[in-house]
């Protein structure tokens, strides 16, 4: 059985969303996935929250433990350049400046 994330809802996908969606579709708790995969439950929780990222091999093992598989293909990639530029600028600001900029924009 192949596992395909629903792109409209979770695009762009992260390893955390893949693990979580596979686990939930399989009806497993994090503890059950831990037993099936032999990985630590707390580590699975961290992967799912995207706090840290598993290796590709670990990601595949986890998805397979949920009885799914990853279907991968190389396709041309085109970034959303406008948003990319905008967000990069925002990230150069401090959190304080981001909030102030939002409040200024809101008043306009």
């Amino acid at each position: 059985m192949r596992f395909t994330a629903t792109p409209a809802r979770i695009e762009p996908v992260t390893s955390g969303t893949l693990i979580r969606e596979a686990r939930l579709r399989a009806g497993l708790s994090q503890g059950e996935l831990s037993e099936r995969s032999g990985k630590d439950r707390a580590q699975i929780a961290r992967w799912e929250r995207d706090v840290v990222q598993p290796s590709f091999e670990t990601l595949r093992d986890l998805v397979r433990a949920c009885r799914f598989d990853l279907e991968l293909a190389l396709v041309p990639y085109e970034a959303d350049r406008q948003q990319d530029t905008r967000l990069r600028k925002t990230l150069e600001r401090s959190p304080q400046e981001r909030v102030q900029a939002m409040l200024r924009a809101r008043r306009r």
Binding site: A8, R9, I10, E11, P12, V13, T14, G16, T17, R20, E48, R49, D50, V51, Q53, D80, Q83, D84, R86, L87, R88, T90, L91, R93, S94, P95, Q96, R98, V99, Q100, M102, L103, A105, R106
Partner: protein, 171 residues
């Protein structure tokens, strides 16, 4: 004092929470903005620790802010939080939503592990839910209106990773 619809002073809300040493995590639109999302928001959403003492402190902070329920009913914080997943309030400094357990999470204790303190000036340094947790909450809500912010969050997660990788290479 009647809260005007256009008033939004998140720093005033956070200062009131800080004065009474309330333990909470910022989530929602303001949390996403703090992380770099370029959206506009009209209010502040918080997930408080639900310990008895903390709710007492939160009650004092809400008194300072002259908080009242958006539906006009009398505010009874502890009971309302048990009955309603999201408590919508109006305050002198704008809208405040108190969320006991945001969708896709198990509440304060779940979110606090990855939350970070973010300096916002005026001595305010709230705990803010992580980018990953913000994405998790929006994905769990599964609403059409959240598609764009969710896409932005995913983009921010990628950029953050790219910047982190860049910084480690520079070292």
């Amino acid at each position: 004092m009647a809260g005007r619809d256009d008033v939004f002073d998140p720093i005033a809300v956070l200062q009131a929470l800080g004065r009474h040493r309330v333990t909470y995590i910022v989530v929602g639109g303001l949390g996403r903005v703090i992380h770099g999302s370029d959206e506009l928001t009209d209010g502040i959403d918080i997930v408080p620790s639900t310990g008895e003492e903390n709710l007492r402190r939160l009650g004092l902070a809400l008194d300072d802010l002259d908080a009242r329920r958006s539906d006009g009913k009398r505010l009874a914080l502890e009971q309302d939080l048990v009955r309603q997943p999201v408590l919508e309030l109006r305050t002198d400094a704008g809208e405040l939503k108190i969320v006991r357990e945001p969708e896709g999470t198990r509440g304060y204790d779940d979110l606090r592990r990855a939350a970070t303190r973010e300096p916002l000036g005026h001595g305010v340094r709230p705990s803010v839910a992580s980018l990953g947790d913000h994405a998790r909450m929006l994905a769990a809500l599964d609403r059409e209106q959240d598609r764009e912010p969710l896409y932005t969050l995913r983009h921010l997660i990628e950029l953050e990773r790219e910047l982190t990788r860049g910084r480690s290479i520079e070292r």
